[in-house]
Amino acid sequence: MSILVVGLNHKSAPVEVREKLAFNANNISAALSLFLHKYQTAETVILSTCNRVEMYVSSLEGTLTVEDILSFLADFHKVAVDEFSPYMYHYKDDRTVNHLFFVTASLDSMVLGESQILSQVKEAYTTASMEESTGKVMNQLFQQALNVAKIVHTQTSIGKRKVSISSVAVEFAEKIFQNFTGKTVLVVGAGEMCELLLKHLYEEGARTIVVANRTFERAQEIANAFQGQAIKYELLGEYLANADIIISSTSAPHYVIHVDQVKEAIRHRRGNPMFLIDIAVPRDIEPEVANIDNVYLYNIDDLQSVVSQNIDERTREVEKCRIIVDKEVEHFMARLEEMKIEPAITLLRNHFHAIGKEELERLKPKLKNIPNDDWEQVVYAVERTINKLLHHPAKVAKQEAKNGGGYRYVEIIKKLFGTFHHTDHLQH
């Protein structure tokens, strides 16, 4: 039995190659059943996201090769193998397990520690199991991968700090305001960043949104998207005092919000704090505004530096995660070896019991008048003997299999006890 992964990701391949091999919700099921049709004894899961396409395959006695998978991908997507094969990586057995655990725990993601990949892996696995393309090995592997990802996320701070400008800004806003319901957000300018931030705040509950822009139509457009109110740019000053959060991103070459205006606003607000985010370059808000009591001003550099600090923090955590993953891979491989030997032991047990039954059947006619109770005692004694005989070797074989070489023990069992009845399934 072997476990293979063949795939490419954002590091190994440019988007032009990735998109050629990408699966979508519509064709992934077809691909899975086609693959199963071709390789009936295999198990497979296809993970396809915008950053990676990977095929996890487990096959009996390693009959399936990397080339088989590559040619399957080529056939399915109708692309020549050499167009994408230079960008592909492939791993085997424990390195496959290691890779999947790494991917699921988001240690291989573009944004380290992001949690989206976890749900993507979950979805890939669910799709595969619905198509019945997973079996004992893939089920164990993917369930364990999801488990490991959870362990990594709870035991390390890999996913704790925010790593995007807008999420960091919202985090700061949350340190000033208890919640955003009833708070007024004033948006000055209508950049893309502005919209992203606004979306974030809206999701957190901000509902009173006022948009001011030089071109009124654009202001209205954004305001409509968030059920807000568009105002004339000239009226900006009047709305300042009502605004709890101000996001500014105009392309004006000069300051748009001045110290006097904010001073006046804060006087009206009677010390209620104001949070100003200036994401424009050149800056929109006079920097001296930051000196006013109860006013908190952040510019793009402030936010960016927190983002990069947080990214560094995540990078520092990778080593900790790697240790957890390594340990879990080891556990999984041991379990896998144990899994290999289990059917052999079951068959051995059946084989012994079959022999016992055979002998008992031969004995019964010879003991014609034996009372039922006594006969049951005989049957019981035989069964107990068989179980006792098997107990120790089964335990030792399982234990030894855990340390690797489960297959060796299967072979030994085969050799020692000859071919059993129905032994065809032994390899499974």
Partner: protein
């Protein structure tokens, strides 16, 4: 002077110290300092503290305020009592980090008053004394908590202003949240303080405890000043709906006055219902009345 009967209070102080260290450590190294240690040592400390007060009360047959030391211990108990209830009601994250060190310091300070020679001159089954003391103590406790909250507010405010985003920043709640709680504790403490002062005034008039010129007693004057400062705070908040840094600073000033009124006045010579007396006379007073 540390005598055997005060060992429970020393144990309490040790437990409060552990709670302080762990609640501060939790901010910096949450993996090393478990929050539960902070909470449980505080609760155990409070338990021993309560037991100690019962012991003091049984010993003197009075509520435990028969001297300055006992009053101090009782006040500390009130602070913890109010805090535990508030925490249960409002789930105040990280407030213990700010409150427990204050409580620990005050407890150690309280210990230095043990063996003082000022004793209470009245017996407790006196309605006025209870009506005067209990509201004032609970009010003071609320003010102590509002003081911790304002330190917390100013810390968070400073971090936001100076862009210091460490682990303390992450663990503290929002400015608005702290502000609201500060307000709640003050508006809870103020009516109690008022009630206590009014009862005190009645009492002093009816029983002539502080002499003819009772209104010139330092403690009375400062008590009034405390009342005024909190009244001003409430006024600013209610009428001018004032928020933010200024309120936090005023709250700190208010608390300083509270503590000066409570302890400082004894250094200035105020007796305020306490008198220097020998052990003999003290026993006589407690037994006879």
């Amino acid at each position: 002077m540390i005598t055997l009967p005060h060992i429970p209070f020393i144990i309490t102080i040790v437990l409060y110290s552990i709670s302080s260290i762990w609640s501060i450590g939790y901010i910096a190294k949450p993996f090393v300092f478990n929050k539960k240690v902070a909470t449980w040592s505080m609760m155990m400390g409070f338990f021993v503290h309560s037991g100690f007060l019962v012991f003091l009360g049984l010993e003197s047959g009075n509520i435990p305020i028969t001297n300055v030391y006992e009053s101090f211990v009782s006040l500390l108990w009130c602070i913890l009592f109010v805090y535990i209830n508030l925490d249960y009601l409002y789930k105040l994250p990280s407030l213990d980090t700010f409150l427990m060190p204050v409580v620990t310091m005050l407890s150690i300070w309280a210990l230095t008053f043990d063996g003082g020679d000022l004793f209470i001159t009245i017996s407790i089954p006196n309605f006025w004394l209870i009506a005067h003391i209990i509201p004032i103590f609970v009010g003071y406790a609320a003010f102590t908590i509002s003081f911790s909250l304002s330190i917390m507010y100013l810390t968070q405010q400073r971090q936001l202003k100076h862009k210091l985003f460490g682990s303390l920043f992450n663990k503290l709640p929002s400015l608005e949240g702290i502000d609201k709680l500060m307000w709640k504790t003050i508006s809870f403490g103020f009516p109690l303080l008022t009630l206590g002062l009014v009862f005190g005034a009645f009492w002093v008039r009816t029983q002539n405890i502080l002499g003819e010129q009772w209104y010139l007693d330092y403690k009375v004057v400062l008590g009034l000043a405390t009342w005024l400062i909190y009244a001003a705070l409430l006024h600013m908040r209610l009428v001018s709906s004032f928020h933010g840094t200024k309120i936090a600073c005023l709250t700190i000033a208010g608390f300083c006055l509270v503590f000066f009124t409570f302890i400082g006045t004894f250094f200035m010579g105020s007796k305020h219902a306490f008198q220097k007396m020998s052990e003999q006379t003290r026993k006589e007073i407690l037994n006879i009345q």
